[in-house]
């Protein structure tokens, strides 16, 4: 019966694991819905501010914000890498890192140094072991990422651009395609790519208060921040979706494993009984 007992312990331990993965799956499912709501709630702001920025790109001649000016020579680039704080979400973070590293390696091969701002604990741990210079980081955003927590890390990069220590800024994060699919994407944040806009029927410009430079500076900072916030909130929805799927398959696998073990356990039990019986029969015959 020794084999059977061991198997029974194993079944119990896998059963406990399955309970945990099942619970995590359900928690992730409910969190995902809220994360998706948050992701959608951020859209009106982003679309409004994008509209204003697009119009400014066409309308304003006297002051051009540095973010809208493409630099001829790229001496150094910056990357913002968005990751989750916690693991157990399948290949979500690894996919982003792989994408980021492939892009960074290309820059580094051509002798362009790369600076990284990491968001999320996973990225922070990962980029410690990578040759790029980590200039800022923010972690522990939790399930409800707030813009406030991102400002510092993003500001370091934006200041870097204004001071000329980086000439381009990209962000790498996950795009929420649907519950089953999240794909890593790289987006260029700075210089801001001018949006295609329908032809203006007549030329008009805003009144600026207090003056155009101040307002535009403020607006561009908010614009970049809102793009980063959107990536982060989208990544958070991706994290929950990925975790839900990963935990579902873990639960399924645990179930399969338990079925197999049960079969083995029953076989072992049966074999033990048969053996005992034949021993008794053999013993009786001997007497």
């Amino acid at each position: 019966m020794a084999g059977a007992k061991e198997i029974r312990t194993q079944i119990r331990s896998i059963g406990n694991t399955r309970k945990i993965t099942k619970a995590m799956e359900m928690v992730a499912a409910s969190k995902m819905r809220r994360a998706q709501d948050r992701m959608n709630a951020a859209r009106p702001y982003a679309s409004r501010i994008r509209g204003v920025v697009a119009h400014l790109a066409h309308a304003h001649p006297e002051y051009r914000h540095p973010y809208t000016v493409e630099r001829d020579e790229v001496k150094s680039v910056g990357y913002i890498v968005v990751s989750s704080d916690r693991g157990l979400c399948g290949g979500l973070n690894v996919n982003v890192f792989r994408k980021a590293i492939a892009a960074m390696a290309e820059w580094q091969e051509s002798g362009t140094p790369v600076k990284v701002a990491v968001i999320g604990r996973k990225a922070s741990a990962f980029f410690k072991r990578f040759s790029a210079e980590v200039v800022s980081e923010t972690t522990d955003l939790g399930d409800t990422p707030e813009l406030e927590e991102l400002i510092g890390a993003v500001k370091v990069m934006m200041d870097g651009y204004l001071e000329g220590t980086i000439d381009r800024l990209y962000i790498v994060s996950n795009e929420f395609v649907n519950t089953m699919t999240q794909s890593p994407v790289t987006e260029q944040l700075i210089p801001v790519k001018p949006e295609q806009q329908e032809a203006l029927t007549h030329h008009w410009d805003y009144l600026y208060e207090p003056d155009s430079k101040e307002v535009i500076d403020l607006l561009m900072d908010r614009y970049i921040e809102s793009l980063v916030y959107q990536s982060v909130s989208e990544n958070s929805a991706c994290e929950q979706a990925a975790r839900m799927v990963a935990m579902k398959s873990a639960t399924d696998n645990a179930g399969k494993l338990i079925d197999d073990l049960k079969l083995a356990y029953n076989k072992a039990r049966q074999a033990a009984i048969t053996q005992e019986l034949s021993e008794i029969v053999g013993g009786a015959a001997a007497v």
């Binding site: 409004r48 813009l147 510092g152 805003y206 009144l207 208060e209």
Partner: protein
């Protein structure tokens, strides 16, 4: 009575949207009153109340911690900040990031490579804070 579409949004959510007859907002250069068919305007807002007068005579109040106001003849958009913002922000953020790095340094002093990385990081943040302080002095 003519009305104007008002949208109040923050980076994290849509706060309010509807029709109003008049919008009052705390611009940095003074309180603004926006009536329908106002000329296009864009301005910075300081922390304060945004008031929207509705057609039925009621008023809606919203507290915002600063932001940007965009006016088009038929549309007023308040891009509200979600946090109090100021010029000291860079400094505060850098300080916080430095604190985070410092704490990590304490945690993993056993690991030499991590320790070296952390020291470099810390130096970068320290340099940043110095730069910001210098800038501040220049401004004042």
């Amino acid at each position: 009575m003519s009305t104007i579409q008002v949208e109040i949004v923050s980076a994290e959510e849509e706060i309010w949207s509807g029709e109003g007859t008049m919008v009052f907002a705390p611009g940095v250069a003074g309180e603004l009153g926006i009536a329908p068919k106002h000329t296009p305007l864009i301005t910075q807002l300081k922390p304060g109340d945004v008031r929207v007068s509705l057609e039925n005579g009621e008023q809606q109040f919203f507290f915002i911690s600063g932001g940007i106001l965009e006016v088009q003849p038929h549309l007023v958009t308040v891009l509200s900040d979600t946090a109090l913002r100021g010029d000291d922000l860079d400094e505060e953020a850098a300080r916080q990031a430095m604190k985070q790095a410092e704490e990590r340094l304490k945690d993993s002093s056993a690991d030499d490579k991590d320790y070296a990385d952390m020291k470099a990081e810390l130096a970068a943040y320290a340099a940043q804070i110095r730069a910001i302080e210098k800038l501040k002095k220049l401004r004042n």
